[in-house]
Symmetry: C2
Subunit: 260 residues, 2 copies
DNA sequence: TTCGTTTGTATAGAACAATAGACAAATACG
DNA sequence: CGTATTTGTCTATTGTTCTATACAAACGAA
């Protein structure tokens, strides 16, 4: 509410403790859970792998210990924290995955150093007429047949992204099968003679995860997803893939390098 | 909860009505408000400028009419909707602003066509020692003096972004004053002989708005911000600006063009 | 005017969120 | 061992959110 005015001079440094907002549609325990999760990945909490005691945290946030415990319970459920009676509460995983975005972006590459185990799952696929949005993205006529692929990516046994991919069904018949066998967009393209391809554009936005994404990404309600809408083109500049990927915002950041 | 397995075949098209999740820290009216806001900017609701009647919407979301009314009340408060007794509920503003990100990114340019009125406000400024993160971004030693600028950007009388900017205080003494007088990052740099500069990298993430941003950006709790952390360099490649910008996720999308 | 549609207001009860205080159980440490 | 620290469980109370039902007020059209 306190609106600062032009010409004000100082304010406390970044990264200080944030206040919680009462009676505003978001439960206190959820606000606190979000802040703790964020503080952990920002490195301002639990840097030694251990969280301060519940009593300390509850006083810092200005809430009852039970309320704080609800927040911790949610994070334990998510796998961010691990609580041990008599010992304390510990940080389970900390680092954000950084996905590079450039002309040569393939989401699967560049991550090998950041994670041990990385898997891609094909959830579903179908051939269907293109909506206007998809048709525009692929340079096809509205209603033209396209292959749709629903995929889920995991790193270290935990879901990180959920993607919907579209391909021209006439140019790439049986793409879904090729993907299912190779487990890779790049390898599947190779079966159709696409040796190299490029990221033409990426549109980044953010929103709350919808019900389907909540389930697939194993998130609790209110979680945020980073949405990247991308168009890939072949060597001639013809669009070959249109994709919408939803990343778990807590685990991922997108790195855009724009060296001219 | 219902986890689909590998090899499944079809599911309903994108953009259908989303379910609301009960007892999960986020009030139903807030979830619904978020979905309506999103559906409007996605063009799947109120395309004719008018929302369906409350009774229809409440049935579609599976909640009581009062709950839906709370959602609408929040959106009216935000300025997204306008309700008229006896006539209906109308959409007040609809389009998302698209911010280009490229080597030549200046957030103020490229928006002239999208909005009539655009303003930048200096909220606060200070000289202070650099944290490790800021020092790394600017290529300085930790603790070196830096100028910090807190700015707020508005388009069409409504806040769209909130930025924290850091500059080397030794190289740019009095940068804050230069900015205050010119009202522009680019013009302020010109006073220090920087004729041209480039976006070196942008890191994009998303999170819930914190209390300070909620106030400055006039959001209600639970709102999402897109966070862009950027490094700008001069013609020689030396970092001159490190900035963290929080965009209102509902009003903004970032457009990354990566033409190789 | 009369009627149907739509938003606005009121009231009461059920479900959930948050507070308060007390005590149990596991751990670490002297 | 005994004590302090810390997480886990229990009960009770209060306030907010959601539901259910009813009716009022404004608007548009027959």
């Amino acid at each position: 509410m306190t609106n600062r005015k032009t010409g004000a001079v100082d304010l406390s440094g970044q990264g200080q403790d944030q206040a919680v907002t009462r009676k505003s549609g978001v439960a206190l325990w959820r606000q606190i859970a979000d802040q703790i999760r964020q503080a952990i990945s920002a490195g301002t909490l639990g840097t030694d792998g251990k969280l301060p005691p519940e009593l300390v945290l509850s006083e810092r946030f200005g809430v009852n210990r039970h309320t704080l415990r609800s927040a911790i319970a949610a994070l334990v459920q998510e796998g961010v924290l691990r609580a041990e009676q008599g010992r304390g509460t510990f940080v389970e995983s900390r680092q954000k995955l950084s996905y590079p975005i450039s002309a040569r972006t393939r989401f699967s590459t560049g991550l090998r150093s950041q994670t041990r185990d990385r898997r891609s799952l094909l959830l579903a696929h179908a051939v269907e007429p293109a909506t206007k949005r998809v048709a525009d993205g692929l340079g096809l006529a509205e209603g033209a047949p396209v292959v749709r692929l629903e995929t889920l990516s995991e790193a270290d046994e935990r879901p990180v992204s959920r993607a919907t991919n579209w391909f021209d069904a006439e140019r790439f018949p049986g793409y879904a099968e090729a993907y299912a066998e190779t487990g890779s967009i790049t390898l599947a393209f190779q079966r159709f003679g696409i040796g190299d391809y490029f990221r033409k554009s990426t549109l980044v936005s953010a929103r709350h995860a919808d019900a389907a994404d909540l389930a697939d990404l194993k998130l609790s309600a209110g979680a945020i997803v980073l949405v990247a809408i991308a168009t890939n083109v072949d060597a001639e500049g013809v669009p070959i893939q249109y994709a919408e990927t939803r990343f778990v915002a807590d685990r991922v950041e997108l790195s855009v390098s724009t060296d001219a």
